[in-house]
């Protein structure tokens, strides 16, 4: 089977249409299945015939064996009566019967051997048909994959653009990972910032951290420098006169 398909590969490579391979493979498999099932049918017929013949032989053997026992009895009786002449006549008949029975027994042995080998070949044929059918499934599955891929190729990138699905997806994964790590970094920065502020505000509320920009802190700073107290009192005025300057100069 494999060698047939390989021969076909070589043949198909010369033709342009490589999809021909599947059609050819299916044809070969179809033929193999037909051959195997013909053989199987023949083996089954042979088996039926063989078993019928065996039964006929076996059925004939029983009466013959009974007759052999019967004639044996007669000979014993005749001998005990001293009638050797008649005993000899019966003995001749008996020897024919015994020969006949031996032949039947030999025949039965042959039938049994044939029946055994037919049963084996039936099992073999059945399993090889099963295997061939699995191969048909595999070829059909591959055909379906080809069709599905061809459909994707025409749907997504136009029939002339090469399909590079795996590498495209890899790119998307890398991009996603980059985005994710950028987002993660940003989140981490925000988190650090937030964490810091949270800590500061908690320290402040615990009275451990002075907020340098708070009004009370500014006031405390000025209170600590009494020498600058007077100029600060003038400051509003100076500011006020400065504010009027643009008006006068205009």
């Amino acid at each position: 089977m494999w060698s047939k398909i390989f021969t076909m590969f070589r043949g198909a490579a010369h033709q342009a249409g490589e999809a021909v391979i599947d059609a050819n493979a299916l044809r070969i498999l179809d033929q193999e299945i037909r051959d195997a099932s013909t053989a199987l049918r023949k083996s089954r017929d042979d088996l039926t015939t063989m078993m019928a013949q065996r039964k006929l032989t076996f059925d004939k053997l029983g009466p013959k064996q009974r007759k052999i026992a019967e004639y044996g009895g007669y000979i014993e009786q005749l001998l005990s009566k001293g009638d050797e002449a008649l005993a000899l006549e019966v003995a001749q008949k008996l020897s024919e019967l015994e020969g006949d029975a031996a032949q039947d027994e030999q025949l039965l042995g042959q039938y049994d051997a044939n029946i055994d080998s037919l049963k084996k070949s039936i099992i073999q044929a059945e399993s090889s048909i099963g295997r061939l059918k699995q191969q048909v499934d595999a070829v059909k599955a591959t055909e379906n994959v080809q069709r599905a891929q061809a459909a994707i190729a025409s749907r997504h990138s136009g029939s002339n653009t090469a399909l590079r699905t795996a590498t495209d997806s890899l790119e998307r994964i890398k991009q996603k990972q980059a985005e994710r790590s950028a987002k993660f970094d940003a989140a981490k920065q925000i988190e650090n910032l937030g964490g810091d502020q949270d800590l500061k505000s908690r320290l402040a509320s615990a009275g451990l951290l002075e907020d340098s920009s708070s009004a009370s802190a500014v006031l405390a700073r000025f209170k600590a420098r009494p020498a600058l107290a007077a100029p600060t009192q003038d400051a509003p005025r100076q500011l006020g006169s400065e504010a009027s300057t643009p008006g006068t100069s205009a």
Partner: protein
């Protein structure tokens, strides 16, 4: 206990499964329908499932043969990879006359448990992305 899947029944079962949360699952209906799965965590990698008789085939497209710099070298490495690659193989199919496509594929019995089919899909996607990473330098 085990059901023999066909494409439609497998599609319905996948839609109702946990895979639906991590992928977009479509039935591509035609004479021989197939299931198209786009896995979010794998860069929307398309994975195809087809059921034929007693066989389920799960596959994804790698790249076209025309994109491989040195095909003999790539083929040899793919063959070396196949025996050690769990559940998936690299194969080659004809997309159209003169257009060969490398695929990653795995096969299961059509009477496999749904969980095995889902595992095959995930492993296949993982292997496909691994292959894309490993073979990147060999592609045009």
């Amino acid at each position: 206990m085990s059901v023999q899947w066909n494409t439609a029944s497998l599609h319905a079962a996948l839609l109702a499964s946990e895979l639906n949360a991590e992928a977009k699952i479509d039935l591509i209906d035609s004479l021989d329908p197939s299931i198209d799965i786009r896995l979010t965590d794998f860069g929307d990698l398309p994975v195809q499932i087809t059921v034929s008789g007693e066989q389920i085939m799960v596959s994804s497209a790698l790249w076209e043969a025309s994109q491989v710099k040195d095909r003999a070298r790539f083929n040899e490495q793919a063959l070396m990879l196949n025996p050690i690659n769990a559940l998936s193989n690299i194969g080659l199919i004809a997309l159209a006359p003169g257009r060969d496509l490398y695929i990653m594929f795995g096969e299961l019995s059509a009477s496999s448990d749904l969980s095995h089919v889902i595992e095959e899909v995930r492993v296949l996607a993982d292997n496909t992305i691994e292959a894309a990473e490993a073979f990147a330098e060999q592609l045009i």
